[in-house]
Amino acid sequence: MKQDKACNCSAGSSGIATANRPNRLKLFVTLGIGFAVWLFLYLVLQRVANSLTYDVFRLEPSSHLGSSVAFFLYDAPKVILLLAMVVFAVGIIRSFFTAERTRQILAGKRQIVGNVLAGGLGVVTPFCSCSAVPLFIGFVEAGVPLGVTFTFLIAAPMINEVALVLLIGLFGFRIGLIYVATGLAIAIVAGWVIGKLKMEKYIEGWVSEIQMAQASATAPNMTIEDRIRYGLNAVRDIVSKVWPYVLIGIGVGAAIHGYVPAGVLARFMGEGAWWSVPAAVLIGVPMYSNAAGIVPVVQALIEKGAALGTALAFMMAVIGLSLPETLILRRVLKWQLIAVFLGVVAIGITIVGFLFNAIL
């Protein structure tokens, strides 16, 4: 027999949590110690990295190797620390959202309003790309317009908290804000365009035959402890998954930092070379890397003369459009719709690249 309601796993776990009061104190104490250790590490990082490089390893600050090593020893732990903090914060925010509730909010919304909402919700709703198919079917069947669904599916990977923290950490808040604003704009406009094109007939036929069980939209009834645990789990999951990418990315960045002469990229990735933006997008789309791996490379490229818009466009193409996710979506979308989806988003990213090369 099929049940008409989705129970939430958190119901079970919160029962356990409230049964053991001392757990709560332990959790808060652990959290406090964690924050203190974090802050301490963050503050002493630069000094430790420098003294390791120049005093312990006895490398010359002016040498290629010395400058690469110092860059790596400072950036790698800094980025991982920032990552842990932001993933925790985002985890707490995400614990307030579920895909079911997002769908309920978006169902029946019209274009534009729906697109704007879907963009914002795409950022905060917890969602892994392997869920793209059930989520797509669930949204469309529940009456979320196709274009609004696409805005959600574009915004979710495009605005990535890992990329955001890396951009803020390496370039500052202004670039981080630009990234979020333009990423949202691309998702909203691309979804709106796909909606306007009336592509509904390019959804695979079997989708409409699915008799979907009605999922309930009740939000999980979580306590503060549950949300903190949710955030800590997110830190454990994401940091344990992305740290190799961070190290490889920063390693490549460090090598470029130390060995590639300044300005060498200006000729073919600088502002003068207009074709570099579409070229960067074309190269970036089939590439797939974790956001954690791509940003340090982007930083090194910019440092050596690549234009900011070109580098940002490259990054967005790599993390926003990925081959694996496209292949997953191919199961529910005919190739024409896949092509339009890729095309519209790629054009959006290219425009953003040009825009920033022109105004920054």
Binding site: K2, A6, C7, G12, S13, C130, A213, N233, I328
Partner: protein, 88 residues
Amino acid sequence: MKIKVLGPGCARCHRLEQTVKDVVKELAVDASIEEVKDVKKIMAYPILTTPGLVVNEELVCSGKVPDKAEVTQLIVNALEKQQRGDRK
């Protein structure tokens, strides 16, 4: 007891399946564990985000990988429900 793990076969789904296997072994429950990868079959349950856990045809968890304690709790709950049902 019939347990199904819903998911297209990504790493998260495999992790859930492994946790379920561990818990079933630990509790010594008589249970069959089935992996459901077909999207059409997955969508027969009220699920939006995978992985999902179905116990005795009831979706008890979806959209996240519950830890061992949660899975244990969910299976114990289902066992109690099953026994209540048997007694009737």
